[in-house]
Symmetry: C2
Subunit: 78 residues, 2 copies
């Protein structure tokens, strides 16, 4: 069964560019990727914070957080 991966981003250019290449590169047979724009969906900022997300964009797989390049601080969305 495909595992859940979550891509948290802020809708910025860095995030969108990383999304189009990197996130779409994940093996679709292994992962179901949910893309969450925290800029427009601020109710999920707390969830991302609890998972350990500090900067955006970030990818969470199996509870591990990967901060990828740098687009924005999560704190700036609060």
């Amino acid at each position: 069964m495909a595992k859940q991966a979550t891509w948290y981003h802020g809708g910025c250019d860095v995030c969108v560019s990383a999304e189009s290449t990197l996130v779409d590169a994940l093996n679709p047979q292994q992962f179901r990727v949910e893309k969450v724009n925290l800029g427009t969906n601020r109710s999920r900022v707390g969830e991302a914070e609890k998972l350990g997300v500090k900067t955006l964009p970030a990818l969470v797989i199996d509870g591990q957080v990967y901060h990828i390049n740098f687009g924005a601080n999560l704190a700036d969305l609060k």
Copy 2:
């Protein structure tokens, strides 16, 4: 045909942890991933630098550099 992706790392714990989950999550039908340990293979530090790698670990896909979390500065390996 599978595209080339290159994973540059320094052999540190952050790198190894990211490698096991994230790099192995890439779609094997789309990407051939080469893993380069710059700690033991310093002759390739210059190549990574030219591609724009600044910190390790980093993943390069299609000429785009993704700096993932933070393990080491490339400059420290020179």
